[in-house]
Symmetry: C2
């Protein structure tokens, strides 16, 4: 068989698998938005069926044959051309999927399905002991997975690699150590500053329906195409691609948390702009997909933090907010509102953290999950280790497990090695923002004028349409001239918070 | 292989195929309700992929082998037991699906996809000649399908049989002739009566959002379980099963057509009650599915006509209607309203017809499509044949093709042999209603008191939970003691309209 024919068949199969994945995505989206409660059991059967079909296709030996036919051929002469990129990524995914035996995949699926329920119960009762056996089992299964896949230094590397190809624990640890050294004192200086915002402004009454209107206007204004997407309500905010031309965001609103709702929408819009900006010519193949979890997260955090917490953004949108919520904002100035959006304080819950302390929460999780996987920390000792780490890093410790190690569902979901991508995303976002500003001029001014198109175009060329051409750490270097680097993030925070708090 | 093991494998496969069908159903429902416009092309690719997977599974030779293993075994000793019913139906479906070559199936799919666009254009321009070549092609393909499948008397029989197993043209023709003899003079007497309702009442202003509220209350009140279903807006009213515990109705509202909106909801609720009342033990197999298109339609028309156009129903719900639409109903009495709901007049458009003339519209279509398939009518002559048939049957003829033979999309969709099930449904519904009333006492009184549960229970035992145990014509006989019979329908119409119009 000729290499180009093999490549065509390979791409046809991959696109079909991608299409099936988008069908699975619709099942998930529908479950979160409109499915009636009586449909839960049926939905889990539908999901299991599709997962089985996808696994079957993903591990079909024919893929290995086709990859073999193509590899070493002239088709891949240019390592940065789409064919070479696609083959490289597909090889990595195929090898990983055949290295993990089906029995282990199924056991992980079964265990995490049950563990999620156990976790929910444990959290509701704030009782870690209910969840402990599940965590032990999950850590054991994920360690077994790491052994199947292989790693250089420690099993945790194999888990990170699944979400962020090319990354390992040592690089993450260096980055996080550097961040800790900068962020801990910065957070302390901010919270001790004499000048403090009035956080109460944001706790006034902001009716949800109007928040949804506001969110929809913001999404459209920054460039999210609602003819090729939707915005709906759901318990868990998310951005789901249902396929080409169909990218759906969900959000949740709380009458007493206006800023939280807007920032959540901007976070999901960041994912959505990435999805909507992918290269249509390569849709359904790695060259037309989001590069990695970390890069995808960088886009979300770019819009949430670098845009949504900027002065320019609020100069533009505060008047609309005041029109929609006159009873709560008539006596508030844009400056005070912007200051309130950027309130910083050490807190126990990651999901509600400000942008300065947020990465300290992630850092704690990285440290602890790495220790769990390496065997240096026993699951039984997690609550006390959690308390110590919070005390050391954020200066406070939880009084209950619910506010502590039971707050996130990631581990119950089998997501070990995932947390670092949150901070990696923040670091990437700041690097990209600094570079974009060097190329495009003062972005805050553009935001204040409602000009988002130049920035979206810039990201489109440099990030969205690059697909999986490079590993994320290399793409960042190609675009910004520097490998992953915590300094642009630290500089951005110091500049903004220094001015706001008069440090 | 032992027969019981073969049977278990067969059922496992059928259930999995059923599950995949419900995934396809979600794609359809979503397309009609929430999918953004940009997702159209992607959706058609997803649908094509699932159709291919389903066809592959439905024609897998393994099914033929398994059926062969089971047939003739003791498992099927009792022909009315679930195993025998399931095997009988699965054999029929399998034989039909393997008799039609994949190339023909695909050509029908391709042709009807394009024909639907051509039809929409032709209807918009009211120009039959645009649609004519497509109709010719579709008739030719469906005739080829009939030849593959085989038939006793005429090819049209093979097409009816696909929707209503056990039915044929001769039976339909007899039933329709009898109906024509009764309905034509009845409609004439009604429209010539001195006493006439004020149809204008229903054309007042009824805001859609409140119609939706009213519809939701009605659906819940008659027994549609909204924890296991939904009610949404869509261009095309429909009832879609997304699987066990998840049955979704869509409706469309027009500010100037209150009765039309409610009757549409009751129609879809009728389908929904059937779906929600299927035997859960047999879900996903013929014993746990709606029996046929005609029986499914009978349930829809039961609730639309026998309930929604009854005096008792409106005695119960008119007060709620007046609460919701005081500006339009404050000066209207329940009697006048009920009379207006039952206004009869010859009209050109089937979808808006009253219950007396409705079946005359269907009768015209049956006559014409039967002639098209047999070759007795050329597609080119359809418009004039349509005009003649309407003149003869309803006493009026369309001035344009849009109001005439282009009004329905069924033929563009490849649905030849489908129309008779509408009238069959009406005939069944009246037979079932008469029997239910003999068993349960005066139903109109029960409706007036909001008592629907006894009737739903009665239908559940006799129809819903019978699944595919009998062919529809036999089930009607088992339940009512009589084979398909037009007289209960005629008697019900004569009684109601006689009293209303003082005939």
């Amino acid at each position: 068989m000729r290499a180009d024919k093999a490549y065509d068949e390979l791409i046809r199969r991959v696109r079909e698998e991608g299409l099936l994945t988008t069908v699975e995505a619709l099942l998930e989206w529908d479950e979160e938005t409109y499915m009636p409660s009586g449909g839960v059991e049926n939905r889990s059967e539908q999901m299991a069926l599709l997962a089985g079909l996808l696994h079957e296709r993903g591990t079909d030996p024919r893929i290995g044959e086709l990859l073999g036919e193509v590899e070493g051929s002239d088709l891949l002469a240019d390592p940065l051309a789409p064919a070479a990129v696609n083959v490289r990524v597909l090889r990595r995914e195929y090898d990983r999927s055949v290295l993990v035996p089906r029995s282990l995949v199924e056991e992980v699926a079964r265990t995490t399905a049950l563990a999620q329920k156990a976790w929910a119960t444990a959290r509701a009762e704030s009782k870690f002991s209910t969840f402990r056996p599940w965590l032990e089992k999950i850590v054991e299964l994920k360690r077994a997975e790491a052994e199947c896949v292989g790693y250089e230094n420690e099993p945790y590397d194999a888990l990170i690699e699944d979400f962020e190809p090319g990354l390992n624990s040592a690089v993450v640890a260096r980055l996080f150590d550097a961040l800790r050294r900068e962020l801990v004192p910065l957070a302390a200086r901010i919270t001790e500053a004499r000048r403090q915002p009035d956080g109460g402004l944001l706790r006034r009454h902001f009716p949800r329906e109007r928040q949804r209107t506001f969110g929809g206007r913001v999404a459209a204004a920054v460039g999210f195409d609602l003819d090729r997407g939707r915005l709906d309500l759901a318990v868990h905010p998310s951005c789901t691609s249902i396929g080409r031309g169909d990218c759906r965001i969900t959000a949740r609103f709380d009458d007493r948390d206006f800023a939280g709702g807007v920032l959540t929408i901007l976070h999901e819009v960041g994912h959505g702009l990435y999805e909507q900006g992918l290269d249509p010519a390569h849709y359904g193949t790695p060259m037309g997909e989001a590069l990695s979890v970390g890069m995808d997260e960088s886009q979300a955090r770019f819009w949430e933090n670098r845009v949504g917490r900027s002065r320019g953004f609020w100069e533009r949108f505060f008047p609309l907010a005041r029109d929609l919520f006159p009873e709560s904002l008539d006596d508030v100035s844009c400056s005070d509102f912007f200051f309130a959006v950027n309130r910083v304080s050490s807190s126990l819950i990651r999901a509600h953290a400000d942008e300065v302390t947020y990465n300290l929460h992630v850092l704690v999780r990285f440290e602890l999950e790495r220790a769990l996987v390496s065997g240096n920390l026993r699951a039984a000792d997690l609550p006390s280790a959690w308390g110590d780490a919070y005390q050391r890093t954020l200066g406070i410790a939880p009084a209950t497990d619910a506010e502590g190690c039971l707050q996130d569902g990631h581990w119950a979901d089998g997501l070990l090695g995932y947390f670092p991508t949150y901070t990696l995303g923040d670091v990437f976002a700041a690097q990209l923002f600094a570079r974009a500003e060097a190329d495009l001029g003062n972005l805050d001014e553009q935001f204040a004028h409602g000009e988002y198109a130049p920035l979206v175009r810039w990201l489109g060329e440099r990030v969205y349409r690059q697909g999986a051409r490079y590993p994320s750490t290399r793409l960042i270097e190609v675009v910004t001239g520097s490998p992953p680097d915590h300094r642009p993030l630290v500089r951005a925070l110091e500049a903004k918070y220094g001015a706001l708090y008069g440090l």
